[in-house]
Every structure is written in structure tokens, then in C-alpha cells.
């Protein structure tokens, strides 16, 4: 992937901003004794973040190829499914139902088989159900994990 200074600047700014917030909180919050160690760490965190930012600004930060537009576009649908599942569907629909749908959706989104292939749909459905049956046996029956039930289960 082609090197991009701007791409390296964005995470460098984000980490620098975070380190400034950490430094500020460490020196302003009370009781001061509770923030003794965080202050020590915040100084080093901010120091390295500034160093990293300067390197990115000068174009010296070249480790890591960054993310291409195509990679972002590839990830986006899967990421949306992942976030909807974790932050909404798992509680609203129930953990197991939401997980089955998520497995099926992620598999379908990234399966290279043609979407018109009926056999591929059946295969995806069967594998999703079989995998979730194993997960149910492991977590619900063996480990007795109580999961949010939601609309279904």
C-alpha cells in the first residue's frame, strides 16, 4: 500500500488527544493521592504521544501501511452487522437468535459464492445453525451462562 502522511497523522492526533485528556484528568482530579501513579504514566504517555505526533508530522512515521479505501469498504458492512448485533440485537432479539442471524449475515456478506446460488444459501443456513447449536451446547448447557433473552431467546 502507498505510504500516506495524512493517514499516519490521524491516529497520531487521536493518541495525542487521548494522552492530553489523560494528563489533564490526572493533574486536576481529586483525591490527588489516587492519581499519583496515573500522573507518572500520563507524563510518559504524553511524551511518547508527542514524539509519535512529531514523527508523523515530519513524515518519519512509516511503519504500518494504513487502511486503503477498498479495505474500509470491505470491512464496513461486517462492522455494521457486528455493532448492531452487540449494541442492539443481542438484547432486543435475544442472544442466541441475534448470534445466529449475525453468523449468517457475516458468512453471506463475505462468501464469494454467487448470491443467486440456491445451494450456497442452504449451505450458509445449515452451517450457521450447526455452529450456533455447538455454541448453545457449550455456553448454555455446559457453562450455564445466562444470556439476555430479548424478544426470542
Amino acid at each position: 500500500m502507498q505510504y500516506s502522511r495524512l493517514q499516519h497523522l490521524i491516529p497520531a492526533i487521536a493518541v495525542l488527544a487521548l494522552s492530553v485528556v489523560v494528563l489533564w484528568i490526572s493533574y486536576t482530579q481529586q483525591p490527588a493521592e489516587a492519581f499519583l501513579f496515573p500522573r507518572l504514566i500520563a507524563i510518559f504517555l504524553a511524551g511518547f504521544a508527542v514524539w509519535n505526533f512529531i514523527r508523523a508530522l515530519l513524515g518519519l512515521s512509516r511503519i504500518g501501511g494504513g487502511l486503503s479505501k477498498q479495505e474500509v469498504l470491505n470491512i464496513l458492512p461486517g462492522l455494521v452487522v457486528m455493532l448492531v448485533y452487540a449494541f442492539w440485537a443481542s438484547k432486543a432479539l435475544g442472544f442466541y437468535v441475534a448470534s445466529t442471524i449475525t453468523f449468517f449475515l457475516v458468512y453471506t456478506l463475505y462468501d464469494p459464492s454467487a448470491l443467486t446460488d440456491g445451494k450456497a444459501w442452504l449451505r450458509r443456513l445449515f452451517i450457521s445453525l450447526a455452529f450456533m447449536a455447538v455454541i448453545y451446547a457449550l455456553f448454555a448447557i455446559l457453562l450455564k451462562v445466562q444470556t439476555p433473552r430479548g424478544l426470542f431467546f
Partner: protein, 499 residues
């Protein structure tokens, strides 16, 4: 020879079944490209909650050992290293398979892994008590510096970028402080209600190691993976053993190199395999044959990456400094069972420590037997399509992080850290120092506070933390690890500029 009296625990039915399951499961997981040993062990931790500490550790130890060896299957048969540790194995192993010697390559790979692994674990058995006795002299200031050393060593040696490695370590240390302060009870950095109880180590480990892998698989899009199917004709096992004896030099080089590299915190199996391969090539009269399907290449690489496993646990069990990212995850597994590794581990929990170590010894033998037996099966599983892998790892990560405390907050933390780590990794940051910071942060802080109290009562913080031979020795190691990494970065930059 105290360890001999704890062999019985390994052969208790539940423990032995877990060892067997961990070994076979680890071999299959290891053969699956994209599932690194670290991630496999992190995903297994939630399954150990219901087990006794020793049983949980046996399962994790077996998975650690066999995932490293299992990675050779896909390296040999598919030219896709199952783990970074198996990169060197693919060089000659796959050529052997193409030349119709796939079965011999697999035999040699598991036999040399087993021999290297056994010697590595023996080193662990004999070195650990000596170091543990030495570690008894450690006070709060020394333990503080040790925790800092753990972060700086991994941060500087395990990362491609010196600054980003140390920055990742600092980020991990900061993350470990989120939640309520133990002494004052004050809230620290609680930006969201999910963070009230602090960051759960297991959820963080799963997020930091599994989610970036899932996103990485997704980033490839709807690609059809074309994997060449290599036929593996049967070959007599006896001839493989004779071949192993002929490759004694490569086996010795691999085992010694792997053991030494394993002892150095922060230097992983990937380096062990590649260094051993390079050394075996240098010392071999048939060095021209390396890369064309030479048995010595497979033997050197595989004996090294498994010989590294045992010694990488020496600093973990004695000084609480994990020698590798997988050892850091194992440390997380120990802590959730209330076991704090260190100088008194062998006094307080001898049955846990020795049974675990002994199980790794037995596990090496099981790994050889089942590795050869399940290799063909594991290779088939290694061909599992990427979308199934991505979906399965995502679901396992969510269930694994949720089941720790049966709390959705842990799932949110896991996903946030995982997505953040994926982006950071794309820009040269690495998960290992961040994890080390997260795990060693509370240890560093507790000893820093305790040391400060002692210091205030005697000579003051400077004299307490910065003087004394042991403090100075540890500070020198911290400076040395950072300085060495800095010099290496400068040298690499100069080389790149020259090119």
C-alpha cells in the same frame, strides 16, 4: 526433583482429558491460518472458569504447545503458516510436500517439535526454582521495576516501531488504571458506566487479539481463496526417524536456539524459527539444498519454535514477566484464578505450578502422537473458508467476553478495544505491549504505592527506588532494552536510506 511427585495430577481423569482435548484442539486451531496461538489461548480462557485452576492451566498450556506445532501442518501442506512461528517451516516443508514427501515433512516436523519441546520444558523445570529462589529477595521497589521492565522489553523488542511499542505499553498501563482506585476508592477515568468495574483482562485480551483478526479477514472482501491441494502419499515412519537422526545437527541448533530465545522476554517463536533456520543453513554442508525441500530446514525451524515454549514461561512463573504475547495471555489465565505468579508460586501453589509444568511435558509426547495422526484431518480444517472463520471467531469472542461476568459491558469494552487495536495495528502499533501494560499495570501501581509508603518512612522515594544493587540492575535492564531497540531502529533507518 520435586516435580516428579506431582506427575500423578496430570493423569487424573479430568486433567488428562483436558490435556488430550487441549492438545488435539490446539493442533487443529494451530493448523487454521489466521488463528494464532495467542488468540486461541485467549478464546479458551472463558472455558476455564468452571474448572479448577490447575485444570484450566493444563488446558491453556496444552493449547499453547500444540497450536505452535499445529501451525506446521498448513505451512507444509498449504504453504500458509498457521502461526508466525511457522514461517521458516513453510520454506522447506512445502517444497518437501511438492516433491511427494509431505508425510515425511509432517513426521519430521512433529518429531522435532516434540524433542525441542521436551528439552524446553526440562529447562523450565530446572531453571524456574533457581530463579524463583532469587526472586524471593525482591521488595516492592524491585517488583515495580520488574513490571516496568516487562512493559519496556515487550514494547521495544516485540514492536516494529520503537516509539509506537512504548506508546502502546503506556496506553496499556493507563487502561489498567480505569475504574476504582484500590486504596482511596476514588473513581478514575470512568468515561462510561461499562468501565465502572475497570477493564476486565479477559474481555480485553479477547478483543485485542481476536477482533483485529476478524476485521482483517473482512478487509479482504469476497475473495475466493485458491489453495493448492497437495496429495500426501503414505511414507514409513521408521524412515522419518532415521532421517531425524541424520538431521541431528539441525535438531541441536534448533533446540538450543529456541531455548535461548525463549528465555529472553519479548522475543517470540517467529524469531526462534527463523534464527534457527538461518543458523542450521550456515552450519550445514548441504546449505545449497535449503529452500528446495531439505529436511534439515523443517527440523531446525520446528524444534526451535517448540523449544521456545517452555523457557518463555520461566520469566512468567518466577518474575511475573511474560516471555511472549501468549505467555501474557496465560498470565491473565492465572490471575483470574487468583494465582499470582512470582517468587512464592512454588511455595504457595506447588501442586498447581508443578502439575501444570508436568502436563506440558506429557503434552509434548501427546502432541507428537496426535499431531502425526490428525495432520491430514487438520489440513482439511485449515481449508475452512475465511467468512466462516470470521463469523465463528466473532461469535466466540462475544460469548467468551460476555461469559466472564455475564455482563454486556465487557462485550462493549471488548469490541471497542478490538476495533481500536485493528486501526492502531494498521499504523504500526502492536497489541502485545498494550496487553502487558494492562496486565502489569496493577502490579506496578500496587508496588509503587507500597514502595512510596516505605520510602516516606525511611530515606525518601529517590533513595528507595533508585539506589541499591538490585534496583540499579533492573533500571539498567530497562535502559538497555529501550536503548538497544532505539539503536536497532536507527540502524534499520540508515539501511533503508542507503537502499
Amino acid at each position: 526433583m520435586e516435580f516428579l511427585s506431582y506427575f500423578g495430577g496430570v493423569f487424573e481423569p479430568t486433567a488428562f482429558l483436558l490435556l488430550l482435548g487441549g492438545t488435539i484442539g490446539g493442533l487443529i486451531l494451530g493448523a487454521t491460518p489466521g488463528l494464532s496461538p495467542t488468540m486461541a489461548v485467549a478464546l479458551l480462557i472463558p472455558f476455564t472458569f468452571q474448572l479448577q485452576p490447575v485444570q484450566g492451566l493444563i488446558l491453556l498450556g496444552a493449547a499453547y504447545t500444540s497450536t505452535v506445532a499445529g501451525g506446521a501442518v498448513s505451512a507444509i501442506l498449504l504453504r500458509i503458516p498457521g502461526a508466525p512461528a511457522n514461517i521458516a517451516t513453510a520454506l522447506d516443508g512445502n517444497e518437501m510436500a511438492r516433491n511427494g514427501e509431505g508425510a515425511r515433512a509432517l513426521h519430521l516436523s512433529f518429531l522435532s517439535s516434540g524433542i525441542g519441546g521436551v528439552i524446553g520444558v526440562l529447562l523450565l523445570i530446572f531453571m524456574t526454582p533457581i530463579l524463583a529462589r532469587w526472586a524471593l529477595a525482591f521488595g516492592p521497589s524491585h517488583l515495580f521495576w520488574l513490571a516496568i521492565l516487562g512493559v519496556t522489553v515487550i514494547g521495544s523488542l516485540d514492536s516494529k516501531s520503537f516509539v509506537k511499542g512504548l506508546l502502546s505499553g503506556c496506553l496499556g498501563l493507563w487502561l489498567s488504571m480505569i475504574g476504582y482506585d484500590d486504596i482511596q476508592g476514588a473513581q478514575r477515568f470512568i468515561f462510561h458506566s461499562s468501565l465502572t468495574g475497570g477493564i476486565n483482562i479477559i474481555a480485553a485480551l479477547i478483543g485485542l487479539f481476536a477482533i483485529p483478526q476478524v476485521l482483517d479477514m473482512m478487509s479482504k472482501g469476497r475473495q475466493k481463496r485458491s489453495i493448492e491441494r497437495i496429495e500426501v502419499p503414505r511414507q514409513p515412519f521408521g524412515s522419518s526417524i532415521r532421517e531425524l537422526f541424520r538431521s541431528f545437527r539441525a535438531l541441536s541448533i534448533g533446540t538450543v536456539t529456541g531455548s535461548i530465545i525463549g528465555l529472553i522476554p519479548g522475543v517470540g517463536g517467529q524469531i526462534a524459527g527463523l534464527v534457527a533456520y538461518d543458523q542450521a543453513k550456515k552450519f550445514s554442508p548441504d546449505r545449497d539444498k535449503f529452500g528446495t525441500g531439505h529436511a534439515e530446514g523443517v527440523v531446525a525451524a520446528e524444534s526451535a519454535n517448540n523449544a521456545m515454549v517452555g523457557p518463555s514461561l520461566v520469566p512468567l512463573l518466577t518474575l511475573s514477566i511474560p516471555g511472549s504475547p501468549t505467555a501474557a495471555v496465560l498470565l491473565g489465565g492465572l490471575l483470574i484464578h487468583g494465582i499470582f505468579p512470582g517468587s512464592d508460586l512454588f511455595d504457595n501453589y506447588p501442586e498447581v505450578a508443578w502439575t501444570f509444568i508436568n502436563s506440558m511435558l506429557v503434552g509434548q509426547i501427546l502432541m507428537v502422537i496426535f499431531g502425526i495422526w490428525t495432520a491430514a484431518w487438520a489440513a482439511r480444517i485449515a481449508r475452512v473458508p475465511v467468512p466462516i472463520m470470521a463469523a465463528a471467531v466473532l461469535i466466540l469472542a462475544i460469548y467468551g467476553s460476555y461469559s466472564v461476568q455475564q455482563n454486556m459491558g465487557d462485550v462493549y469494552v471488548m469490541l471497542t478495544l478490538g476495533i481500536g487495536m485493528f486501526i492502531l495495528e494498521k499504523f504500526g502499533f502492536s497489541a502485545a505491549p498494550l496487553v502487558l501494560g494492562l496486565i502489569l499495570g496493577p502490579i506496578a501501581e500496587a508496588n509503587f504505592i507500597q514502595g512510596s509508603m516505605i520510602a516516606n518512612a525511611i530515606d525518601g522515594p529517590f533513595a528507595y527506588f533508585m539506589t541499591g544493587p538490585l534496583n540499579l540492575f533492573l533500571i539498567a535492564l530497562v535502559i538497555l532494552s529501550v536503548g538497544y531497540s532505539f539503536l536497532m531502529t536507527m540502524r534499520d533507518r540508515k539501511r533503508q536510506e542507503q537502499v
